[in-house]
């Protein structure tokens, strides 16, 4: 059994490595910038969703306010860059750090809340953040911040036409988020989080410090999301509160994980790989009609997937595994 387990872990790593390599080679074949753009967004949302999944999927604290951390990452990076000339690379880390600190600060009061009360509190806090930025003159308020793009530069992480550097960064971020999840999954923290999600009281009785576990998950999750936000800001070269802190980001971070399989290693990646291209393509190719058909298709797909596969798309893959499990059960029952 131990062997099985180790083999599964190794197999996950190998599959991920293969996928990452495949993805890294994709630009050799995909020259179309529009498609590249979709790939970048897909990778970015996969990374964001993977990060969201740490807190909400593994630790069970459903947050619909992660746009706050996304926005903080974006704003920290760009404010530091435009006001103080700090390179985005440092801004990114600073943004991540600040987001993690805020997540922990918010954790103190928030983690006492349960269920809907918690979810609504996360929505509300992100909304407050949005309103504050919308009215914060120094940070550009509603006008946002336009990032001066002066030509290709790795140092400033900006590129005029080439999407490749962004692509590789997004890929890297996605791999990082995946790897962090993979690593945490078989660590004390990973076990603690899942225990806290399933039954905090029992977890506490087994020596799990529930509160600290939640804090840890929140910090890791917020940090990664903020780095994603910083990336998005650099990628877009323009930010305003609505476009980096709006509620839609919170949803878009959660959706891939939910569709793919919440609290699973592969769910977010799988969900993003299907959802994001679908969103983009329905908008691009049927959105121009002005008749809302794209919305109908998009919404109906979400409903259909939620209803048909409540465990997410990964459950399709685990069918085979489930069969094995039944076999084990039979063995166990007839023992």
């Amino acid at each position: 059994m131990d062997k099985n387990f180790a083999a599964r872990r190794r197999r996950d790593l190998i599959v991920a490595g293969a996928l990452a390599t495949l993805a890294a080679l994709a630009p050799l074949f995909v020259k179309d910038v529009y498609v590249q753009n979709i790939l970048i967004l897909t990778l970015m949302y996969a990374a964001l969703s993977q990060s969201w999944n740490i807190l909400s999927g593994y630790c069970g604290q459903i947050s619909l306010g992660h746009a706050l951390y996304f926005g903080i990452g974006a704003y920290t990076t760009e404010l530091l860059f435009t006001k103080f000339g700090v390179l985005p690379w440092f801004g990114m880390l600073a943004g991540g750090g600040i987001a993690a600190l805020i997540a922990m600060g918010l954790g103190y009061p928030f983690f006492r809340l349960r269920g809907h009360y918690f979810v609504i509190a996360t929505i509300v806090i992100a909304e407050i953040g949005l309103l504050l930025f919308q009215n914060w003159e120094w940070a550009g308020a509603a006008m946002g911040i336009t990032i001066p793009v002066r030509g290709d530069s790795w140092l400033k992480f900006q590129f005029l036409r080439s999407k490749l550097p962004y692509f590789y960064f997004a890929l890297g971020l996605c791999c990082l988020a995946w790897f962090v999840t993979w690593w945490l999954e078989d660590s004390k923290w990973g076990f603690w989080w899942r225990a806290v999600k399933d039954n905090p009281e029992a977890a506490e009785s087994l020596g799990v410090v529930v509160f600290n576990s939640k804090m840890g998950a929140a910090a890791v999750s917020a940090f990664l999301v903020a780095v994603g936000g910083a990336f998005y800001a650099q990628f877009l070269a323009y930010i305003d509160p609505e476009s980096v802190m709006g509620f839609q980001f919170s949803l878009l971070m959660a959706l891939p994980a939910v569709l793919g399989g919440i609290g699973t290693l592969w769910g977010p990646v799988l969900g993003a790989a299907i959802l994001i291209p679908m969103t983009e393509l329905t908008r691009s190719y049927i959105g121009g009609s002005g008749r809302g058909v794209d919305l109908i298709v998009y919404g109906a797909l979400i409903v259909a997937i939620s209803l048909a596969l409540p465990q997410g798309l990964v459950s399709l893959f685990s069918r085979a595994k489930a069969k094995n499990q039944v076999k084990n059960q039979v063995k166990g029952a007839t023992r």
């Binding site: 059994m1 131990d2 603690w192 039954n199 009281e201 029992a202 020596g207 609290g263 499990q325 059960q329």
Partner: protein, 243 residues
């Protein structure tokens, strides 16, 4: 040598309701102590106080020679208090082995060691064949055993068992009894709540009867079941004879 566990004049009130009043009990090292009493006598509350789910309104709790009254549950677990829940609280979305690993992580921070420990405990409790099954797919009796396994994985000095033998046929219960004995033989002190007198009385070294939040009687099982106060409050006439 001091007792492993001692409660000194413990009170617990919930609003106007008094769940425990002035409960002082002690459990010595290596003992199996049975805690019995009518439903609602405050047994579960006392368990929760000992496990640290909530602090007592008044009084103190001493474990292993130290005052642990104000320590949270997780900290008490680290010091060696393991417990099961009357209403089974497995981690439903995790497999059996993963459930046990959570417990094992208290003493083993290296994953490989924790996993090894968990396998060991599953063997010990006879759940090894079910290691990779989701906890939600276990039948109730297995879930109770999982509760015990999980608590054992924390390598406790004191194990609090809350109705783990409930709902078993007499034969099955015998296996359970054997397991509890095995646990004690491994050097773990056991404090257990149980209703099925036929099973629990031969097993325990000492029985404590709670009624209306107070200690009613305490002593050797044979004496306890003959105590008229116990018969009146708890056993009813028939069982007094039966036991």
């Amino acid at each position: 040598m001091t007792a492993l566990l001692e409660t000194r004049g413990v009170w617990q009130r919930f609003g106007g309701l008094v769940a425990n009043s002035d409960v002082s009990i002690s459990v010595g090292r290596g003992e199996i102590v049975g805690l019995i009493g009518p439903n609602g006598a405050g047994k579960s509350t006392l368990f929760n106080l000992i496990a640290g789910v909530l602090p007592p309104t008044q009084g103190s709790i001493w474990f292993d020679g130290e005052d642990v009254t104000n320590l949270p549950a997780a900290e008490r677990c680290q010091r060696g208090v393991g417990r099961t829940f009357q209403v089974v609280k497995s981690f439903e979305t995790m497999t059996v082995i993963d459930n046990v690993i959570v417990g094992a992580l208290v003493r083993n921070t290296v994953m490989r060691e924790a996993r090894g420990k968990a396998h060991e405990v599953l063997e010990f409790t006879g759940l090894a064949a079910r290691a990779d099954v989701l906890a939600s797919d276990l039948v109730p009796a297995e879930k109770r055993r999982l509760e015990v396994a999980r608590a054992l994985a924390t390598e406790p000095k004191l194990l609090l068992l809350d109705e783990v033998l409930t709902g078993l046929t007499p034969t099955e219960a015998q296996t359970g009894v054997a397991l509890v004995r095995k646990v004690r033989d491994a050097g773990i002190t056991v404090l257990m709540v149980e209703h099925v007198m036929e099973i629990v009385m031969p097993l325990v070294d000492r029985a404590i009867v709670l009624d209306l939040g107070k200690v009613l009687v305490e002593g050797k099982p044979a004496d306890v079941v003959r105590d008229p106060k116990v018969i009146k409050a708890y056993l009813g006439d028939r069982h007094a004879v039966g036991a």
